[in-house]
Symmetry: C2
Subunit: 559 residues, 2 copies
Amino acid sequence: MQSDIEIANAAVLRPIREVAADTLGIAEEHLVPYGHFKAKVDIGYLTSLADRPLGKLVLVTAISPTPPGEGKTTTTVGLTDALHGLGHRTVACLREPSMGPVFGMKGGAAGGGWSQVVPMTDINLHFTGDFAAIAAANNLLSALIDNHVHHGNELDIDVRSVTWKRVLDMNDRALREVTVALGGHANGFPRSEGFDIVVASELMAIFCLTESWADLKKRIGDIVIGYDRSTKPVTARDLNAHGAMAALLRDALAPNLVQTIEGAPAFVHGGPFANIAHGCSSVMATRAGLRLADIVVTEAGFGADLGAEKFVDIKCRKSGLRPDVAVVVATVRALKYHGGVALADLGTEDLDAVEAGMVNLRRHLTNIKDVYGIQPIVAVNRFPTDTDVEIARVVDLVAAEDVRAFPATHFADGGAGARDLAEGVLAALEGESPYEFSFTYDDDLSLTEKVEAIATRLYGAGLVTWDAKARRRLQRIERDGYEKLPVCVAKTQYSFSTDPTALGAPSGHELHVREVRLSAGAGFVVVVCGDMMTMPGLPRDPSASRIDLADDGTLIGLS
Amino acid sequence: MQSDIEIANAAVLRPIREVAADTLGIAEEHLVPYGHFKAKVDIGYLTSLADRPLGKLVLVTAISPTPPGEGKTTTTVGLTDALHGLGHRTVACLREPSMGPVFGMKGGAAGGGWSQVVPMTDINLHFTGDFAAIAAANNLLSALIDNHVHHGNELDIDVRSVTWKRVLDMNDRALREVTVALGGHANGFPRSEGFDIVVASELMAIFCLTESWADLKKRIGDIVIGYDRSTKPVTARDLNAHGAMAALLRDALAPNLVQTIEGAPAFVHGGPFANIAHGCSSVMATRAGLRLADIVVTEAGFGADLGAEKFVDIKCRKSGLRPDVAVVVATVRALKYHGGVALADLGTEDLDAVEAGMVNLRRHLTNIKDVYGIQPIVAVNRFPTDTDVEIARVVDLVAAEDVRAFPATHFADGGAGARDLAEGVLAALEGESPYEFSFTYDDDLSLTEKVEAIATRLYGAGLVTWDAKARRRLQRIERDGYEKLPVCVAKTQYSFSTDPTALGAPSGHELHVREVRLSAGAGFVVVVCGDMMTMPGLPRDPSASRIDLADDGTLIGLS
């Protein structure tokens, strides 16, 4: 079997200006090329499309993730290829990969098999420089904070309260907790600090929720970096940092256009974490896609309890975007895993386990229909060990929920493998949805009530409890006028509960809130339940030791 | 008077593909565009030019720098424009600006007035991502070092001896001295660490001395990151980091092509510090220029005692490149300053001071002729307050040294203001040089003798002394087999001595070596005389507070 990079390197790419013109009708003058196969689409041009009608929006989400992986990105790409192949003007909207994991264990994030976006190596390394720009803007604010304190601290910043952290796009555990400004008078006032990976930064979330240059600068200005000695919030605007930070992000804000292996267009733009942030690609890209294409296929992070919830309650709430269909990716293996089968035994046929594991998928489908009010379709991403009987059983079980399921083999077969799924999606888009879109909670609820709504309506939790410190923090956030913001729950993606081993569909559990963080620029309050890793480490044998550059410039070992 | 950014923004740029084709004969297929006005030139294409004859190489250097600035970059651009205007196929080779100072005090580094390279804002912010790539590769090595120690430290690295530092392209004093890996077992072994600005990194120097992808990987492998417990050097190759680091720099290694305001081509590529590194733009760019153009105009850092010395003894020694003419930039104001006039009085005519300050320029000219064996020409960069009599006196004083001097007004007048200078350069290039190129010292001298050669032959020093610690470090470097490397002296640029207030041409002083550092990948030994700042700070009122992004995307406040 060919590796992802072998397939990607063997693909014959069309110049991106041809892809842009033929698939989306974008004239070359509106492209800002980055090499011959990547381009940003000019923001001025996109602004000029404001009167165009919007296309249909397909949200790809999933069952609760399991270790073997469900293939949400490949399904997004495969479905796009299939729709494109059927003659529908379709564009995928994906997240940009972080470089950190490329050198660690996880590898890149440009799809896989015959459902990839290309040029794969470019997308996984540097790409168009967006993440570097976000890191620079983020770290400029950090430098300005310490500089302000060093030069007299006119704002009376309490350095013990600074929550704004520096970032790097690197898996580097040694930077999780550091002490900065050591070495005496010339180097400033020492304080505790930590580095997050770029994708975990509030600035990444801001970048992905931003609608325009003006909105970008406004949101950056709203960032609360910490508090002064009288516990008043200090913003990036107070430090006069927002203009320069926005300037650093000027070009990055334009969506990046690439192509799939089969020549369909794809926007790959922005990539916030799906735990402490909302986990979707940029609003700029989604909106551009909806103006330029008839169908936009985009993915949310993790399972439908986290990624789709944030897509609905954060991204849709703020942008006004509305998904027309939700494609829920499931696999026979994931169902068996949720049905209690051990990892090593997932290749063995087990219909009882499939049925048992259906409780997980069923709750996600119920949430999507009854809470978000979106019409769901299930994509059964088929793996080689799945039996026909197992696949048929999944389709039947899903049908019992009044939902259609379509087996798909896009990983092995590209767009042709997702043809049935595409036709199912088209049928759903053409029909009238029996559901009415809604949010999980209203803006006007208190932050506590919002968390309770998510916990009880979506997770099946019995109660929500709060650390005393988290409760105090929440009160301060409410005191400061941020109580109307939506909440962003950071918890394990492996379970509806906060216990990653509680598979299936646990009920009546306790959701314990350990920590609360304010992302005032992004416009949400992060509610942390459990330990959140915002700076990954490298494994004992990192991918970096296999990645190489041949003398002729060929890149080796990326996955 | 128009500001630099006003002039730059008003310039009418030609698409870079047209500039490349018309001025250097590069077909569009060999360009990798970054937007419409920046492009990298494909390395495969450049390699295919290996049989082409080399053009002439003009090195722009200067008198010892003074606070008002001498205008070396503007002279490089102005001279290029003048030669271009006279119909000679000419290209400038410049360093890339660091973003750190853009947000600090110094501002950008794309020339000034009517002698600029454009697009100015792009060049000063992010550009084509080279510095971000260098930072990522640098910090990957750091992460791999701490990761190796965390996972068992098979190489027995002595963490107290690690000299490889993390980097950011930011002025951030709080990162100069930090403690990393705090927070317990999961975060690694705590150690002292510091961040340098990207331009101060050894990797930047490697990048600029590299000849090919294979050479890049080899040099990176040679980097000594520290020592093991038995004091044996540990290299990036030992950590198996060099392949992934080279992969991260694959695309960055191709030279960046832009244009001057007057439409001449300019390579802007790489930008190492001129104190702890060699201070020249990349060998890749210089060599590309020499294959593609008849004349390459490039600049070295600081004055001729530092920048030109390193250009000769490091860049030329390693690459085989040879300058045909050295243009020495001087100003009436700098001569008066070296002649003892206070900063506030530099606008007042003072012929005696001009004559007194000539000692500085005279020693530089003598060094260039007698030590480096390069034919010098003096560019007298004229400022509005200079009087005709002063200018005439400089020309006469220079003539007494058997060197021709040409007043130039390119800052105000563009290429037309450097027309006489260009004709002088052309005459020198056409004639036979009376000098024979040579190095300041031979490879075979000991490191101590090399430093003594520079100190006595160029600086006029009476003796070289060493800190005991520096001496021990030198001995270890010699023990490890690096004694054949050239040396890179890091000292103040304001004086031939290590005392920045010793203007003119001090003699018989002591050169005290405080510290010695090995840059094994770059291929030189850094000899630090005095305090070297490798991470700048921000001033009380940084430029960042004036840089802004307007709602329509216009960048404001860059200088």
